[in-house]
Amino acid sequence: MSEYVLKLEHIAKSFFGIAALKDVNFGLRQGELLSLIGENGAGKSTLMNIVSGVLRQDSGSLYLNGEPYQPVKPSDATDAGIAFIHQELNLFTNLSILDNVYINSFKKYPGTPIIKKSAMAARVKEVLEAVDLKVPPETIVEKLSPGERQLVEIAKALSSDPKILIFDEPTTSLTTRETEKLFAIIERLKEEGKSIIYISHILADVQKLSDQIIVLRDGQITDNDKKENFTIQRMISSMIGREINQLYPDKTNHPSGEKVLELKDISQSGIVHKINMDVCKGEVVGMFGLMGSGRSELARIVYGLDPHESGEIRVHGKEIRGITPQKAIQNKMAFVTENRREEGLFMEFTIMDNLSLVSVPEKAKTKLKIVNNDSVKESTQGMVGTLKIKCPPIEKNPAKSMSGGNQQKVVIGKWLLTEPELLIVDEPTRGIDVGAKYEVYSIINQLASEGKGIWVISSELEELMGICDRIIVMGNGEIRGELLREEFDKESIMKAAFNQNGKEEA
């Protein structure tokens, strides 16, 4: 038997003449966790799609346990014992866990088309136990939290008893606690002798979990070594091809003390309770909390998307009653939403339409409200330049033609065109690579220097500590703590966020 359970030799692939992968070689040993890191567009997905039978390489060969392996369709990979756990959840929310696991391979009473649940329930129970999810197989997926759904996704993959598991960014929708649980499951799978390929942008996780780390850049492996020899610094420089000395830009903003936004005793039963906070001109205020702590919900309330029962929202000292998104925009607020695919962008619309979406009323000054297209074009083109958005011509190409990092810049740019005085950004760097993150941080820093108030919501504590003047910690719909930049301390922030939540989940 070969040393490697999976081996790739000289894999190359190009799309329309542009090389996506060039001479990729690596091997995966049994019981080993191999992390694959690289910026967006480095070729990670292409590579994994070849392994899982979605795409076919132009040249090169794959071997499973020393035998040649050439999948032509996804089910070939499943049959060969390779399971792929995708970043986005592929579950039917209206069906039960059991239905989801067996949707295309139900066991039936012999000779009839009638489903035999009893023949499958035991297996589903077994795989649910393997991922520590204590719900019956008949549970409808709709009733589960995003974290639990991720576990169902893994259970589904385990049901075919794979030898190799590929995880693509599995932690993006998980809370810290759920992430820890996932890592424990991954450890256990390794002990059982399963081999794992783990793809992630979160380098600390990669360092914690891996045995071996491979770095891809522009379709080539630029670094491949044992975990022990890697530092985060080395991962980053291999990923971007140059030394990065700092992850966050130097702060150049100066909070003025003049309040842009003030919240007084904002409450909504079941969501948030007596929230008091403010954001000053030129200040970057971070808000940290676990998923479900109420941080995004609070932002939605302030922006007028969701109702609140009591409390005051003041902008520049003036109370705004019955706030709606229209009033929020009139009062120079902007809200960059968490989920750019679903809420922030119209993927099929052109980049220009997306950029001009919110500011277009200002371009229609005549009586008939006819939009001045030249002016729209000029201002959107200007924004592309300001934010250094890398994209094809903006009038003709849809938003989906850009990479994740550039999509995020378009969402921010769309709001900047309204010249806001308060910018609320929810998870501004989720799912984008290190280089693009740095640019987003620079934009935030720049805006604050220009005197805008910025409220950043994030579940990445380190990023908040890197860019904020002040951090507010939320938990269970309440403010649990507030720290100034000089008091920033990872441990006390985490403690505040987890406080009491521990009891809730235990």
Partner: protein, 330 residues
């Protein structure tokens, strides 16, 4: 301990049953005759064909599609059966099978346009609705077709004292329920309705699913049409007109979502009976004949409106309650 919210959630989940009871009680109060056993078995008898067609429509709604052609299919199928028997003197069984074959042909055209030509279901079935009726009136020269005794006697037959139409209705409902909940194809219909793209990724043959549901819908519309004429004995040019509204309303009143992915056979059965109850109730109350359709349309409208409120409220109640009040006080 059950909180107030749990109770309102429970009530909202069971709106079809609540509505059913409400309609029943209101008509019962206004017209005591309405409550008699005879009137009730009559209501079920009259709702049987709408129920059968409603079940067919529900299959289509489960995939977020629509079929407006069912009324015309009813007409075409029963007129063909009548013509085959009256003019060509074929045996009754052959006549009925011929009618059903015509219904399936319309289903095939619908499926072809929707799956192969990728025309929207709304436009496709709006077209076959108009074309179907045109073909029917051309075949019959707009004249009424009388059905022979062999068919009408079937309509008045009873099994164990239960009218044939009701027996068929229940049989079809049970088969449909088993099909949806106990077969792979049935479960996959829900999956496609939930997310067609994910269904494709999961290896489901979406085209096969769509083909199945449009064929089943046409089949059930044909059967429903023949069952209906077996009771009245005559097919006139307006037969089946507007039944698509009743059938869609039956499915939606029974909790089927127009957005796809949710709906139950039992709900649709309840919805069909409810519609008939409203219509008969208005007759019992001797409401002006011209106003009756207005009132029944109004009631159906309110019911569907309640359903959309329910969906919105449910989504809020289930997803957005993130704060644990007990924890905060403890």
């Amino acid at each position: 301990m059950r909180s107030k919210e749990d109770i309102s959630k429970l009530l909202l989940k069971n709106i079809p049953i609540l509505l059913f009871v409400l309609v029943f009680v209101i008509f019962g109060i206004f017209s005591p005759k309405f409550l008699s056993m005879a009137s009730f078995s009559n209501i079920i008898l009259n709702s049987s064909y709408v129920g059968i067609i409603g079940i067919g429509i529900m299959f289509v709604l489960l995939t977020a599609g629509i079929d407006l052609s069912v009324g015309s299919v009813m007409y075409l199928a029963s007129a063909s059966t009548g013509l085959l028997i009256a003019n060509y003197h074929v045996p009754t069984v052959v006549g009925v099978l011929g009618g059903i074959a015509v219904a399936l042909l319309v289903g095939l055209i619908n499926a072809f346009c929707i799956i192969k030509l990728e025309i929207l279901p709304f436009v496709t079935t709006l077209g076959t609705m108009t074309a179907g009726r045109a073909v029917g009136t051309w075949m019959t020269h707009s004249e009424s077709v009388n059905l022979p005794k062999t068919i009408t006697s079937l309509g008045s037959q009873k099994v164990l004292g239960i009218p044939m139409a009701i027996v068929l209705f229940l049989l079809i409902a049970v088969i449909a329920a088993v099909f949806l909940s106990k077969t792979q194809l049935g479960r996959q219909i829900y999956a496609v309705g939930n997310d067609p793209e994910e269904a494709r990724k999961a290896g489901i043959n979406n085209k096969k699913i769509l083909f199945t549901i449009y064929m089943l819908c046409a089949l059930l519309a044909g059967i429903g049409g023949i069952i209906s004429v077996a009771q009245i004995g005559i097919v006139n040019a307006a037969f089946g007109k507007g039944e698509e509204f009743n059938a869609i309303a039956a499915a939606v009143l029974g909790g089927t979502s127009l957005a796809g992915g949710s709906g139950k056979v039992s709900g649709t059965v309840l919805g069909a009976v409810m519609i008939q109850m409203i219509q008969s109730g208005l007759v019992y109350m001797q409401v002006d004949m011209y106003i009756q359709p207005l009132i029944s349309a109004g009631i159906i409208f309110i019911a569907v409106f309640l359903d959309s409120i329910r969906a919105r409220y449910m989504a809020k109640a289930e997803a957005r309650n993130i704060r644990n009040e007990n924890l905060a006080n403890g």
